[in-house]
Symmetry: C2
């Protein structure tokens, strides 16, 4: 198949198409951007000869003219975290629905890089989605500076956001475990700087408090790194307590816990139950598979894009934060506690 270049060797433009069709360039432009404004037969002629000539609208030119790039920025703290890829996919899909593509920026776990990347995105995208950013509120606000944006899984004053509330699901799982007979629970908390870690810890504490009368007690361990190695350490710490069931900050940490317990020959779920959070792919793959709470990825992405889109269209609108709920997923890492040793 021949390359779709103008005979002259240059890419075809609305002008070359216009000439070939015997219409003006504006008509060609309209045929693409406001099809309703051009007579049917003309439009079709334009569209087909444009296709034949391999014409592709030049996004940059369009962007300079309109002031809109039709691109959204998505900055993630760590693309390597299994939570992110599904989010990226969800955001991308939703963005496509509103005619936008997304440029992904990975901060490689550095808060500094985050703000720098945001800066870089200015004038390159119409809006920003920040997935659980690590930068301080101040730094964030400064970097964002006027650019429409929405946060995912973090709330910052004055900024719109969509967050996932896991307290219901966590309580449900807690109840279930208590029903199984567990009484002493461990909270393996995540990084103290993490918004999500705070939320989850709070949710679990609240649940445990409510259950105090039922004999439930909670021992708090950590903070631990939200990583496999952090999980190994958390697992070791867990064994120093009387807890028979543990809430890990997230699935990755839970995997570490599983590994550490296995290494010390303590059986899961027979001797200890462990629950993760997020339901990343990994949760299904480890042995035993993880009981966890699934984040509503698609909805998270959709909502973020909807909010952002709205915000781009109506600058200066008030910042709202919408809350979605996680749902409990019971797998093989939870069970009744072992009967007291003989």
């Amino acid at each position: 198949m021949a390359a779709h270049t103008h005979p002259s060797g240059r890419r075809s433009t609305i002008y070359s198409v216009a000439q070939a069709c015997g219409v003006s360039s504006s008509t060609v432009s309209r045929a693409f951007t406001r099809p309703d404004l051009v007579r049917d037969d003309v439009r079709e002629r334009i569209l087909s000869t444009a296709a034949a000539m391999g014409y592709r609208p030049n996004r940059s030119a369009r962007a300079t003219a309109t002031g809109r790039t039709a691109m959204l920025g998505l900055v993630v703290p760590d693309i390597t975290n299994p939570f992110m890829p599904p989010l990226v996919r969800a955001v991308q899909r939703a963005a496509a629905d509103i005619g936008c593509s997304v440029t992904l920026m990975d901060a490689e776990e550095s808060a500094g890089a985050e703000t720098q990347l945001i800066g870089q995105l200015h004038g390159q995208v119409d809006g920003l989605i920040l997935a659980s950013p690590r930068a301080s509120s101040r730094a964030l606000a400064e970097a964002i500076d006027e650019l429409p944006c929405v946060l995912v899984n973090r709330v910052v004053k004055e900024l719109p956001s969509v967050v996932c509330d896991n307290s219901g699901a966590l309580a449900h799982l807690g109840d279930r475990l208590a029903g199984h007979g567990h009484r002493t629970f461990a909270l393996l908390s995540g990084p103290s700087a993490s918004w999500a870690a705070k939320q989850r810890a709070r949710a679990i504490r609240a649940w445990a408090n409510r259950k105090e009368d039922a004999g439930v007690s909670l021992v708090e361990l950590g903070p631990f790194d939200a990583s496999y190695d952090g999980g190994r350490r958390a697992g070791a710490a867990l064994l120093d307590t009387a807890a028979t069931a543990a809430f890990a900050f997230d699935d990755v940490m839970a995997c570490g816990v599983l590994a550490e317990l296995d290494a010390r020959d303590v059986q899961v779920p027979m001797q200890r139950s462990v629950v993760g959070c997020d339901d990343v792919l990994l949760a299904r793959m480890v042995t035993p598979s993880l009981t966890t709470v699934a984040a509503p990825m698609a909805a998270l992405g959709d909502t973020a894009i909807t909010l952002l889109h709205h915000r781009i269209a109506n600058p200066g609108i008030a910042a709202e934060t919408v809350t979605l709920s996680g749902t409990p997923v019971v797998r093989d890492s939870t069970a009744p506690p072992a009967p007291p040793a003989p």
Copy 2:
């Protein structure tokens, strides 16, 4: 901190900066793009007042003027595959080094989406990196149509590419296993359409052939899906053979194998050894941790970008394909075979 907008409310441009500095717009332009062409003191004055005014070059305008967007497209077949995030990161980092950002496109495992996305990227990026694309060579060539591009982990005639050759590492691991006393090996092959699957299968076959004299025999199973579930099936199939060691297509499949064997109470590595491929994060996290071959991610990304950069600068240059090597990583999923049953 005040928003960095011109008093008039509009974003500042080279013109507003020029005016503020009492120079012409071209000088401001040069101060940013060809600093060497403007006198030191002038340049510094410009740069600092530009900063003070919060000026940011408008990428789109620059792009229309120069014909270069300083953006690269990266299309992946499935961002959810744990192999991809590190690649994305590596590519992005390398791209940043040459002043480009990258827009990520996830084909969600559809070959059709792949070519469509490539089409969408035309006129939006200066070049393309296609990570193990699934689309046919023909479809690919047609969609690419003149856009500079390099493939990763796949070779297609006439197209430059960077690939990872695992044959050396695989042979090394095979030798090691044979040294342990294993004699019957299984090849759990990946999707027949996958270029990588073909390469790996070929490498293992070649190794086994070479070792025939040493009593090594190879049983080929599959093809299986390159997924956890595919791995479960592969694990089941494995147990129907006399093989004591298995090469899985990749780490994800290997995880499935591990799970299936565990479910059937066969111990790894005591009763079976299994080796994966790629060394994704997962490989370290499962129990037992996977012996595998590590892909040189950073080098893969670097090389891809270098090749692409080169190609963008010199259109019409001949397509070269550079080969990098994977390195063996021994972990806990391999060991000597169990002594024959009593």
